[in-house]
Amino acid sequence: MSKIRRKFVVPGDLIVRGDYKPVANVYREGNSIYSLKVGLSEIEGRRVRVIPLSGRYAPRVNDVVVGIITDINPYAWTVDINSFFSAFLPATDVFGKRFSPERDDLTSRLKLKDVILAQIISFDRSKDPMLSAQGPRLGPIRGGHLVKISPVKVPRLIGRKGSMTRMIEEATGTRIIIGQNGYVVINGPPEKIPLAIKSIEMVEAEAHLAGLTENIQNFLSKSLGRKIESEKFDGE
């Protein structure tokens, strides 16, 4: 694997000159690649990107998000997905093709303030994001504790192949549902939830630091008074 070089950058900073490929949060001007955001620049082989340290959630098709129902009309639910657009969940998605606004009552399935796990199935510059709640794991989330974290920190909370989430889940005996949009739902015995929240908040606060996994591992081990194992990957 090629070596990854990281550096703190602000908008307009020159990251690299030469034959490189801009991947995310960077732009090319002539032969040079500059940063668009405050973050950590990363050069991996020929690919250049910036991992942002702040910012809102930008919807992307196929993302799985946690949403909160904010409005109901006869044909669709409006869903807050922590972004600059509200998403909508069409009634036909939940009731099926036979849906009829005269016969079917949307509130019988999802009420205001209900929380759902849904996938963004379409979104572009001219249309608001459309959700679907059909699919494995998708649908209403009944019960649990909702935590909001910064969407840019979500990848760190998931960790490599879900390792960070799994470590917190196993240590605290909870189930954690993460939306790409930064909404997180924790399920489990009430007495276990505060520790899970604390760990998630710690991941959010220390997301841009090296040794995050060890820090969380030590924190959990100390809080629980037993050793917590983390998954090891090659090259870490």
């Binding site: 703190f8 602000v10 908008p11 307009g12 900073d13 020159l14 949060n25 732009y27 001007e29 500059y34 668009l36 955001k37 405050v38 942002p52 340290l53 702040s54 910012g55 809102r56 600059f84 657009f85 509200s86 510059r125 001219s126 840019v152 710690m202 606060a205 220390e206 841009h208 630091l209």
Partner: protein
């Protein structure tokens, strides 16, 4: 007329001709805004807060191809010697417009069609050169909000007092002097986004003043960049 430069070439506050007032900057000071920055530039004390991108209200103002940039420059009633009426004055409306226009070339507005980005600038204490200080703070606040920008925008005013070109006019120098020439630029892209002048300069004087302004913008840029860096390192320490 007041003498603004003494025989030792020092100005009323003891500065050299090309010396700036002390500048202090901090980023991320407001919890509720998406991004924020605070700047102290001489006696100026200014807070900038940014929201967005967010849904545009009223909806009819939304633009189909890019984000709408809203900017409000406002002076607190206690920011000047005599109470200032809190309602937006002619000057504040003008400054809101020119600050918006100075910042918009840096922001990738076309990435967020149908949305709005709101910048609120609150002048707590005013001294000369508050527009360039506001631009500097607002662009740091935009970066703090995670809004994609091609470059940071920094400003610095230069001017002519007692026939000499000087950097960074204070309030009295602005009022008594001959020319105030505020400049804002994107230092890495080498482009100017604001250039105003309220008096006559010869071609040579303008060249000299403009070069001085760009040099000083570079200096302010370093302070601004450092503030952003420290803002994120501070968050690290809190944790």
């Amino acid at each position: 007329m007041t003498e603004l430069i003494d025989k030792n070439n020092l100005r009323v506050d003891g500065r050299k001709l090309d010396e700036l007032r002390p500048i202090k900057m901090q980023v991320g000071i407001l919890k509720n805004a998406d991004g924020s920055a605070y700047i102290e530039w001489g006696k100026n004390k200014i807070i900038a807060g940014v929201y967005g991108p967010k849904e545009c209200h009223p909806k009819h103002m939304a633009l189909p191809d890019r984000a709408l940039l809203k900017c409000r420059y406002h002076m607190a009633p206690f920011s000047v010697d005599e109470r200032k009426s809190p309602q937006p004055s002619r000057r504040e409306i003008e400054l809101s417009k020119i600050i918006r226009e100075a910042l918009s070339p840096a922001i990738l507005l076309e990435e967020f069609p149908r949305t709005a980005i709101e910048i609120y600038i609150e002048v707590l204490q005013s001294d000369g050169g508050s527009r360039v200080a506001s631009i500097t703070a607002a662009s740091a606040a935009l970066a703090d909000a995670g809004i994609p920008m091609k470059d940071l925008v920094v400003g610095c005013a230069v001017g002519k007092i007692d026939g000499k070109i000087v950097a960074d006019l204070s309030d009295i120098e602005d009022k008594e002097g001959e020319v105030d020439l505020p400049v804002a630029c994107m230092p890495n892209l080498n482009s100017v986004t604001l250039l105003q002048s309220d008096g006559p300069l010869s071609k040579e004087e303008f060249k000299k003043a403009f070069k001085l302004a760009l040099d000083k913008c570079r200096y302010v840029y370093d302070i601004q960049r450092k503030a952003l860096l420290e803002g994120y390192l501070a968050k690290t320490k809190e944790a």
